[in-house]
C-alpha cells in the first residue's frame, strides 16, 4: 500500500470526500451532489447549456467579479478609514506605501466596472434567449433587482476615495434625490423641507460630508453586498426550481 492509498483509505479522508475518483456515471453524480458549491449544478444538463455561445457565461462572470470584489474589498478595508480626515490620505497611502496597494485598488475598481458591464450583457442574453418566460418570470424580476443593486453598490463605492471626481459625482447623483416628487425638497409638489427629504436620508445631511461618507461606506461594504448575497442565492436556486436552464421547447 502506497502512502497515497493509505491516506485515501483513512477515516479522515473518507469523512471529507465521500466518493471514489474512478470515472463512473455514479461517481460523476456523487462529485456534484456531495459538494456544497458544485451542487448548485444539476447532475445532468442539456448539451446546449454548456456552450459559451449560448450563455456567453455572463451570469457566471458577473458572480465571479462579485467574489473578486468581496475579496479585494475586504483587503482594502484594512487600509481605509471612512472619515474625511483620512479617506483621501489612505488612497495615497495605498498608492505609494502599501505593498501591492495600487494594484489591489486597481483590481477592485476595474472589477466593479467589469461587473456592471457583464450584468448588463447577462440581461441582454437572457432576453434574447427568451429565458424570462413562464415559469421563469419571477427569477427575471430578481435579476432586475440584482442589476439595480449592482449599480448602487458601484455608486456607493464611488464616493469612498474622497477625491474631486467622487465628491461631485455623488453631489450630482444625490441632488436627483432632492428632485423626487413629493418627498424631495426641490421636486414638484414637495411636502418636505431639506432636513427630512430623500437627499437627507441618503447623505445624513444636506450636502456631501462626513455623514455621507460613513453612510455610503456602510452601504457599500455591508448593507448592499449582504442583500446581493441573499439575492444571488435565491436567483441561483430558482434557476433549478423554475425549470432549469432555459431550453427550446
Amino acid at each position: 500500500m502506497t502512502l497515497k492509498e493509505k491516506i485515501m483509505a483513512s477515516q479522515i479522508w473518507k469523512s471529507i470526500f465521500r466518493h471514489d475518483f474512478e470515472d463512473t456515471p455514479s461517481n460523476r453524480g456523487k462529485v456534484i451532489r456531495s459538494n456544497v458549491f458544485l451542487h448548485l449544478h444539476p447532475l445532468r444538463i442539456p448539451e446546449h447549456a454548456m456552450k459559451i455561445r449560448f450563455t456567453w457565461c455572463m451570469g457566471g462572470i458577473t458572480f465571479f467579479a462579485f467574489l473578486v470584489e468581496c475579496i479585494t474589498g475586504i483587503l482594502l478595508m484594512f487600509y481605509y478609514h471612512p472619515v474625511i480626515e483620512y479617506a483621501y490620505m489612505d488612497m495615497k497611502y495605498l498608492q505609494f506605501d502599501v505593498p501591492f496597494g495600487q494594484i489591489l485598488r486597481n483590481v477592485h475598481r476595474w472589477g466593479a466596472h467589469l461587473m456592471v458591464f457583464t450584468v448588463m450583457l447577462h440581461m441582454l442574453r437572457v432576453f434574447l434567449t427568451g429565458s424570462y418566460k413562464r415559469p421563469r418570470e419571477f427569477n427575471w424580476v430578481i435579476g432586475v433587482v440584482l442589476l439595480t443593486l449592482t449599480l448602487l453598490m458601484s455608486f456607493t463605492g464611488y464616493l469612498l476615495p474622497w477625491d474631486q471626481l467622487a465628491y461631485w459625482a455623488i453631489t450630482v447623483g444625490t441632488n436627483m434625490g432632492a428632485a423626487t416628487p413629493f418627498i424631495g425638497v426641490e421636486g414638484p409638489f414637495a411636502i418636505v423641507d431639506k432636513f427630512n427629504d430623500v437627499r437627507f436620508v441618503l447623505l445624513g445631511g444636506t450636502t456631501v460630508g462626513a455623514n455621507a461618507l460613513l453612510r455610503f461606506y456602510v452601504a457599500h461594504v455591508i448593507a448592499i453586498p449582504a442583500i446581493v448575497f441573499v439575492g444571488c442565492a435565491i436567483h441561483f436556486w430558482r434557476i433549478r426550481k423554475d425549470g432549469g436552464i432555459s431550453r427550446p421547447l
Binding site: P25, R28, I32, L38, L43, R44, I45, P46, E47, H48, M50, I52, C57, G60, I61, A65, I84, Y88, Q95, Q102, I103, R105, N106, V107, R109, W110, L114, M123, F127, T129, G130, Y132, K133, R134, R136, E137, W140, V141, V144, V145, Y158, W162, D163, Q164, L165, A166, Y167, W168, A169, T171, V172, G173, N175, A179, G184, T207, G209, I245, P248, L249
Partner: protein, 245 residues
C-alpha cells in the same frame, strides 16, 4: 423477438437522451474554472496597465466642471438635458426598472424560449433592442461627447469655447397645443397596433395591452423629446408653476 427490439429501442432512446443531457462533471466545472482564470488574467493585466483614477482631494468650494456621474449612470445625466431632474433622475429610472420587471408578465408569446429566435418574437426583440440601444447611446454620448457645462464636443475636439456653441434660445410650446399633441400621440399609439392587426396585439388581453402600450409610449417619448429639443429648440411641452415636462 419483437419484445427484444422494443427493449433495445428503449435503451437506445434512453442513451440518446443521456447523450443530449450529459453529466455536468467534469465538463462544466472545468469550463467555469477556465472562465474564472481568463477573467482573473484579464483583470490583473488591466490593473497592471491602467491605474484607477484618483483626482485631487475633495474640495466642496471648488466645483468640478464637467461633474460626470459614473458611466453606468451617465445615460440618466445625459437625459437631464431634455427633461427636468424629477423626471430624468427619479421618475424615468423608476419606470424603467418597473417596466423591465414587468416584461415577463406582459410578453405572453410562448415562442423562442432557450434559443436565439428573432423571427418568432419580432415585436419583443425590436422594442427591447431599441430601448437597450438608446441606453448605450446615451451612455456613449454622455461619457465621450460632453465637455464643460455639458456642452457637446466630438471626442477628437479640444474642450474650448471656440464658438460653435452659440446660445440657442429655447421656447416652450403652449400647454394646450402640447396636451392635444400628446393626446393624439397616445390615441394613435393605442389604436395603431390593433388597427394594423399586429399579431402580438391580437393575442394580448386589455390589461396587458394597455400597460405594454403605455410603457412603450413613455419609452419613445424620450427620443421624441430629444428631436423636439435638438431640431426645434423646444424646452418644455408642458410648463406650469408646479411641474415642467
Amino acid at each position: 423477438m419483437a419484445e427484444e427490439t422494443a427493449a433495445a429501442l428503449k435503451a437506445k432512446e434512453r442513451a440518446d437522451k443521456k447523450k443530449k443531457n450529459p453529466h455536468v462533471w467534469p465538463e462544466l466545472p472545468f469550463k467555469e474554472l477556465m472562465c474564472a482564470v481568463v477573467v482573473m488574467f484579464v483583470l490583473i493585466v488591466w490593473a497592471l496597465l491602467l491605474d484607477a483614477p484618483l483626482g485631487e482631494i475633495a474640495t466642496p468650494s471648488r466645483t468640478e466642471n464637467p461633474a460626470k456621474a459614473p458611466w453606468y449612470f451617465i445615460g440618466l445625466q445625459e437625459i437631464l438635458v431634455y427633461f427636468d431632474p424629477w423626471y430624468s433622475g427619479v421618475v424615468l429610472p423608476s419606470i424603467i426598472m418597473i417596466g423591465l420587471m414587468a416584461i415577463p408578465y406582459l410578453d405572453t408569446n410562448p415562442k423562442g424560449v432557450g434559443e436565439y429566435n428573432f423571427s418568432a418574437r419580432k415585436f419583443a426583440m425590436v422594442n427591447f433592442l431599441i430601448g437597450y440601444f438608446m441606453w448605450m447611446f446615451a451612455i456613449v454620448v454622455g461619457q465621450f461627447m460632453r465637455g464643460p457645462s455639458w456642452l457637446f464636443f466630438w471626442p477628437w475636439e479640444v474642450w474650448d469655447d471656440s464658438g460653435h456653441h452659440d446660445e440657442i434660445t429655447l421656447f416652450n410650446i403652449d400647454n394646450k397645443t402640447s396636451i392635444i399633441a400628446l393626446a393624439i400621440y397616445a390615441i394613435v399609439g393605442f389604436a395603431l397596433p390593433k388597427l394594423l392587426k399586429m399579431k402580438w396585439a391580437k393575442n394580448l388581453d386589455w390589461t396587458r395591452y394597455t400597460i405594454t402600450i403605455s410603457l412603450l409610449l413613455l419609452m419613445y417619448l424620450v427620443p421624441v423629446k430629444v428631436v423636439l429639443r435638438q431640431i426645434f429648440h423646444v424646452r418644455y411641452l408642458i410648463a406650469t408653476p408646479w411641474i415642467n415636462f
